[in-house]
């Protein structure tokens, strides 16, 4: 029995419930996070999430330039999500695309509930995300790494923000869609989640889901976020409490 996706004859899910890259339906790709990887940034993190390779640097709280953007009541958060020209199959032009601008915004809004900006009026916290190699789910990977970089910078936070996508492949809800599943599958739903406050701070959806599938998909993604949360915590622990933590 061959179960194909919408665009290709790739076998996205075989009769044993194994996906095209060998994973089970509730399994994430390999994830590695390292905190404190940059010399000049106030905080930083590097993540490999499947074939995503993303580095994040955080500066702040610091003075706002230009000054008229400063807010006397609270700190502000800025975020740039940017892809290196060599990060994708066809070389990306350096100017920010509309996609990058949108992702910058949704990641910023996903992190805002977690950051205690009200403690730093008139200042800015800048989050710079660089995608060195892109794979499916790069916005979730970027969000997870950005959250670790904020913590590494010592910015007071209410909670970590974890992130993981779920999606639909061969009419089945699966965790952590990869690039092939994104192209050939039926739906992709990236989710950002504060595990202790139990709040979803990022959610998007491309693709068709019944209302029941929709609920299951969110729940599946939240499950993934909880797995990622453990890896985020480990990255910070490794840096601050292990002997081998010197970069």
């Amino acid at each position: 029995m061959i179960l194909g996706g919408r665009d290709t004859d790739l076998v996205l899910l075989d009769e044993n419930g194994i996906r095209c890259d060998g994973r089970k339906i509730d399994e994430t790709r390999k994830i590695m996070i390292k905190a404190g990887v940059l010399k000049n940034a106030d905080g930083s993190a590097y993540i490999e999430f499947g074939d995503n390779k993303i580095i994040v640097g955080v500066f702040g709280p610091r003075d706002v330039h230009p000054k008229h953007l400063a807010n006397t009541d609270t700190g502000i958060l800025r975020c740039r999500y940017h892809m290196s020209p060599f990060s994708v199959e066809e070389r990306k032009k350096p100017a920010p695309s509309r996609r990058e601008i949108e992702i910058s915004k949704v990641i910023k809004e996903a992190l805002k509930p977690a950051v205690m900006l009200e403690q730093f009026p008139r200042t800015v916290v800048d989050i710079f995300i660089e995608v060195l190699q892109a794979d499916g789910g790069s916005r979730c990977a970027a969000l997870a790494a950005a959250s670790v970089a904020l913590a590494d910078a010592g910015i007071p936070m209410r909670d970590m923000v974890s992130a993981c996508a779920a999606g639909k492949v061969v009419d089945t809800i699966v965790l952590d869609i990869n690039n092939e599943e994104d192209q050939a599958g039926q739906a992709d739903m990236p989710v950002g989640y504060m595990p202790n406050m139990e709040k979803i701070t990022l959610i998007q959806l491309d693709g068709v889901l019944t209302p029941e599938e929709y609920k299951k998909c969110v729940e599946t993604a939240i499950g993934g976020c909880k797995l990622v949360y453990e890896i985020q915590k480990k990255a910070l622990t490794d840096k601050y409490f292990s002997n081998g933590g010197n970069n």
């Binding site: 009541d73 509309r98 805002k112 959610i203 959806l205 491309d206 693709g207 969110v218 939240i222």
Partner: protein, 272 residues
């Protein structure tokens, strides 16, 4: 920026207080969108067009159809592109110039809802595989900004597409040539409807108006197709949602969306 005026604070407080009493500032129920009126054919020179009032928010969308090169690796599909501009006459704070992140997100959310629903069968817009296809450009000009541009632009774009007549083009000597006097309806497969909901405290309200919009904690736009399935979704705003809230928003998008779809279906009938 940043320094909320006293008036705005009082207005926000009023909105909160009313919500606690189960009321909205303009008297609507929580799941009731503002009045929607749609006119199509308002720009006769465009291939399709619509003017939408959603409460005091007003949008004109025009559709242009013209030959173009397909995207790489998508040589068997036509092109579909949505843009939006908040005209500077639409609001005192709107400024002319290239779109900021808000407007880019707006256009992409409108685009995604229509694209992911499969509303337009792009495979029918190919003139010569890998070389020349038809592009459908759906450009929304926002004329009055009174909150919830997402749904106003979505409805205007959907309505304009429903009213679109696609001219016939033929390849002659490798060049696309328009055949005058022949046209057909756009290849429509379903009618997507977006419903935007805002959260203020623990309350979820459909189609926030301008005053409500300015004090949202979070918002979500969910698009459903004619089958009542969910095909696109976008969360925004400075805070999040619980799982329960999200599930409830999904249900609301289906039920309220079904009513809006009836209004849109009338257009479709009218244009045929």
């Amino acid at each position: 920026m940043g320094n909320v005026s006293l008036i705005d604070q009082l207005k926000g407080q009023k909105i909160h207080d009313l919500l606690e009493q189960g009321k909205r500032v303009d008297g609507r129920s929580f799941d009731e969108p503002r009045q929607l009126t749609i006119e199509t054919g308002v720009i006769p020179k465009a291939e399709g067009s619509a003017r939408v009032h959603l409460g005091d928010t007003e949008v004109v969308t025009g559709i242009k159809v013209q030959p173009d090169k397909p995207f790489p690796d998508l040589g068997d599909k036509g092109i579909f592109i949505c843009t939006a501009e908040i005209l500077p006459l639409a609001h005192p704070d709107a400024e002319p110039g290239p779109p900021g992140e808000d407007v880019i997100e707006l256009a992409r959310v409108v685009d995604r809802g229509i694209r992911e629903s499969g509303m337009v069968d792009l495979a029918q817009l190919v003139l010569e595989k890998d070389k020349t296809v038809l592009g459908i450009f759906a450009d929304s000009s926002i004329i009055d900004h009174a909150g919830n541009l997402f749904d106003a632009c979505s409805y205007a774009t959907t309505a304009a597409l429903l009213s679109t007549k696609i001219p016939k083009w033929e390849m002659q000597d490798d060049v696309p040539v328009k055949v005058e006097g022949q046209e057909s309806d756009a290849p429509i497969t379903t009618i997507p409807v977006s419903i935007t909901m805002g959260r203020i405290g623990e309350h979820i309200i459909v189609d926030p108006n301008a005053d409500e919009w300015s004090c949202l904690d979070a918002r979500i736009t969910i698009t459903t197709n004619s089958d009542g399935n969910i095909c696109a979704l976008q969360k925004g705003g400075k805070d999040g949602f619980t799982l329960e809230q999200l599930v409830k928003c999904g249900e609301t998008s289906v039920t309220v969306g079904a009513k809006i779809r009836e209004t849109l279906k009338e257009i479709k009938g009218a244009s045929q």
